[in-house]
């Protein structure tokens, strides 16, 4: 197996890690105004992701850095091409990060309301735009002979791209709801469970349509098989949710996102960014790659350190495994010292 193929796989793994983990953070952020009916409930919701969201977000930084190291031409064309879309994603991530960290630093309701809006918008923008981006990566975009993008922001907002955006939005919202049902107790748990069932049905339609359209455009046997598995996982998640088996339901939505990403990468291979202008201008795992020397160094680093990261991130989830109840945040007024 060529090093370039290994790295194509590793980049896929990093995106799987990112979208599965930050995906439920986005879902919780988008559901904040929907499920969080009181100040206490909103605090409780943010507490479920509080210890982990930052570590989850690092996956995208590593995915970006690894793409730069392993496929510099892909990194260059993709990030300069999807310029304004990426800018909006960055603005969203900045808003969300600051909002989660700062909302409880002052007691005034107006202060908190403003940051809650920032959490919502900062979660909504990336949740949609990552889907738009991946749909366009798989379908291909206009690239010239220098592999430079020749379209605009509107080029990306084509029907297939928008369907991709709605699909990730639906998946993340449902994923976030199953996460909340898993991590909370009482009334909010019941409502999260019910909401996951409702958004799940809509999402199932969107996801099946999106994966089927992907399959028609550039699928092969492998991407078809993985797409079917993703659909099965999602059905499993919804059934488990209906039965109140929240752990299984969350595993189901996580597996759905993971398998959907794998299906997209399988459909993409061996291209990394197809050109719709001329197939000869497409970026592939070979013409976009770094040298074998760089790739072998990076392989050693990844093989040694990725398991270590997984172990300590896993340990964090273990430390904070308990369900959170309203008692934790209380309905008391925030203490004078900030709370």
């Amino acid at each position: 197996m060529a090093l370039t193929d290994i790295w194509f796989g590793l980049i896929a793994v990093l995106w799987v890690g990112y979208l599965v983990l930050d995906g439920f953070d986005f879902g919780v952020g988008i559901l904040l105004p929907v499920l969080g009916r009181s100040e206490g409930e909103r605090r409780l919701m943010l507490r479920t992701i509080g210890p982990v969201w930052d570590g989850n977000e690092v996956w995208v930084l590593v995915a970006g850095g690894a793409t730069f190291a392993a496929f510099p031409a892909w990194y260059a064309s993709l990030f300069s091409g999807f310029y304004l879309a990426l800018f909006l994603v960055l603005v969203g991530l900045i808003l969300r990060g600051v909002a989660i960290e700062y909302r409880n630093k002052r007691p005034e309701p107006t202060w908190r309301t403003r940051w809650d809006r920032a959490v919502f918008v900062g979660s909504l923008l990336p949740a949609i735009l990552w889907g738009v981006a991946f749909a366009n990566i798989v379908a291909g975009v206009p690239l010239d002979a220098h592999h430079d993008y020749t379209g605009t922001l509107l080029t990306l907002l084509n029907p297939f791209g928008l369907l991709g955006g709605l699909t990730t939005l639906g998946l993340f919202v449902t994923h976030g709801a199953t996460f909340l049902a898993l991590k909370t107790e009482g009334d909010i748990r019941t409502r999260a469970n019910r909401l996951a069932g409702q958004t799940g049905l809509v999402t199932a339609v969107l996801a099946v349509a999106f994966l089927a359209w992907t399959q028609v455009q550039r699928g092969d046997a492998a991407s078809l098989a993985v797409s079917v598995l993703a659909a099965v996982a999602f059905v499993g998640a919804l059934v488990a949710n209906r039965l109140g088996r929240e752990g299984w339901s969350f595993i189901g939505t996580a597996a759905t996102i993971a398998l959907a990403v794998v299906a997209l990468f399988a459909a993409l291979y061996p291209d990394v960014l197809p050109s719709t202008t001329n197939a000869a201008y497409s970026l592939t795992t070979t013409n976009a790659a770094s040298t074998d020397y760089t790739l072998s160094i990076m392989t050693v680093v990844a093989v040694v350190f990725t398991p270590i990261v997984l172990i300590y991130q896993g340990w964090t989830y273990w430390v904070f495994r308990k369900r959170l109840s309203m008692q934790l945040v209380g309905d008391e007024e925030p203490a004078a010292h900030g709370a």
Binding site: L46, R47, G50, P51, V52, W53, D54, G55, E57, V58, V60, L61, V62, G65, A66, T67, F68, A69, A70, F71, P72, A73, Y75, A76, S77, L78, F79, S80, G81, Y83, L84, L86, F87, L90, L93, I94, G97, V98, Y102, K105, R106, D148, S290, T291, Y293, T294, I297, M298, V301, A302, F305, T306, V309, Y312, T316, V319, L328, H337, G338, A339
Partner: protein
């Protein structure tokens, strides 16, 4: 302005802004870890209260360092795609390794530290803040390895067919003398920054009447001032080494920083120089004889090359063109870096002396408390402006010019949109952060009861 100028402004603004928070994050992580270690070892509650107080200020600052760091990771691809294609085989590796080794470490363990009070065993909890601190330091190392390669490219070969630089010796890149000394200089500057912050905040509290907490803040002021002084000595030593390397690797940068127009042996250190507007010769100058030779080469009669001779030499080597950076920017950023950093050290020295004599609060103390934390922030910024502006017109010294690195596919208006967007957003966030810091400093130390270990109630402190 064309896309190139806009992209350069954007890089300058986002990077200088990002680097306001980064040194404070690195330095404070270690200070807070040190304070918490003192508490765990002595059981003395004053250390715990200081840990919580400065820990919270650390978190407010950390948040902005993180979110502005995301932009750094992506803007090479967004605004500098041809640069990314040219250097990716080399430059991408330290960036990816930084993410995998450093970002995961600091963010994961910081989450454990924030929410782990009263939940993790005391020593395990202490370990989480140390791991966070180590993460911040690893991050600095890898990103400086990447930057140092732009200053002094090593361990590579140019592949003409592929039209890019390719890695041949990763160890040479990791252990490049420029990278090592830049890393040390930056880390020591980070400690200086954090020390000045800790001391300035304590001083301000003392001046406003800390009441029964006075002795705790006196301790904090001493810890901060000593940190500044020790760090200042190390900053000078490492900076001196860095200057000598700069003279050897990028003589034009040193010549511009000193406004030394013509090669001199020995060369004097400029105290004040005025040059012509076109930057070709000096009109007026006060110089201390021989000192520049000593700083640049280690010998009082060493030869230091001048701007005009280097320009001629580069034109002969690299083809016709202007190889001079903007000389007043280099000259003044060099002086302002040393001036503001030096002033912070003097202020810390004064503070230690005043504390010993029982420091009475007056308006000078308040002023010093307000200004002290800002001085190293200015010094850090001027240092980077010198490093990056002094390398121009190169993006990778001797290999690629900045004008060749910009993204060909982005329209000027698009770069303008993101430039304005980031600048407005960053400006607003700065106002919010300063407001929160001031508010939290005003609130003073947490009450002893609030820091009780048993309080599961996470954190009066964070959430």
């Amino acid at each position: 302005m064309d896309a190139l100028d806009l992209a350069r402004w954007q890089f300058g603004i986002t990077t200088v802004y990002h680097f306001l928070f980064v040194p404070l994050t690195i330095g404070l992580a270690f200070v807070v870890a040190g304070l918490q270690t003192a508490w765990v070892r002595t059981g003395n509650e004053r250390w715990l209260r200081l840990t919580r107080f400065y820990g919270e200020l650390f978190l407010i600052n950390f948040a902005l360092g993180v979110v502005t760091g995301i932009v750094q990771e992506f803007q090479f691809g967004m605004n500098w795609s041809d640069y990314s294609r040219y250097v990716g085989d080399i430059f991408g590796a330290p960036l990816a390794i930084e993410g995998l080794l450093a970002f995961f470490l600091e963010s994961t363990f910081l989450g454990l530290w924030i929410f782990g009070w009263g939940r993790l065993p005391r020593r395990v909890h202490l370990a989480t803040i140390w791991l966070t601190a180590i993460g911040t330091m690893l991050s600095a190392y890898f990103i400086l390895v990447a930057n140092s390669w732009m200053q002094d490219p090593v361990g590579y070969t140019y592949n003409a067919a592929a039209g890019r630089a390719q890695l041949t010796d990763f160890l040479a890149v990791l252990t490049s003398p420029v990278a090592i000394v830049t890393f040390l200089h930056t880390i020591f500057a980070a400690f200086l920054t954090a020390g000045a912050f800790v001391a300035g905040v304590a001083l301000w509290r003392l001046a406003r009447g800390a009441g029964e907490d006075e002795s705790v803040f006196r301790t904090a002021a001493r810890v901060g001032a000593v940190t500044v002084l020790v760090a200042a000595v190390l900053v000078v030593v490492s900076g001196d080494q860095q200057g000598k390397q700069m003279t050897a690797m990028q003589p034009m940068k040193m010549a511009a920083a000193e406004a030394l127009y013509n090669t001199s042996q020995p060369a004097g250190l400029s105290l004040f120089t005025v040059g012509t507007l076109d930057g070709s010769r000096e009109l007026f100058s006060i110089r201390v004889p021989d000192i520049l030779s000593f700083l640049a080469t280690g010998s009082f009669d060493g030869k230091v090359e001048g701007i005009n001779q280097l320009q001629a030499q580069y034109a002969a080597t690299y083809g016709p063109g202007d190889y001079r950076p903007i000389i007043p920017v280099s000259y003044w950023s060099f002086r302002l870096m040393i001036g503001t950093g030096g002033l912070a050290a003097i202020a810390a020295l004064w503070m230690l002396w005043a504390l010993r004599r029982g420091l009475r609060p007056n308006r000078w103390v308040v002023a010093a408390g307000m200004v002290l934390p800002l001085l190293p922030l200015a010094a850090n910024s001027f240092g980077w402006i010198l490093t990056e502006m002094g390398r121009q017109p190169w993006i990778v010294f001797g290999l690629m010019q900045t004008s060749s690195g910009v993204s060909p596919s982005t329209a000027p208006w698009e770069v303008l949109v993101t430039l304005v967007g980031f600048t407005v957003l960053y400006g607003a966030l700065a106002v919010v952060e300063v407001g929160l810091l001031v508010r939290r400093i005003r609130a003073g130390l947490p009450a002893p009861a609030e820091t009780g270990e048993e309080s599961e109630r996470p954190i009066a402190f964070a959430y």
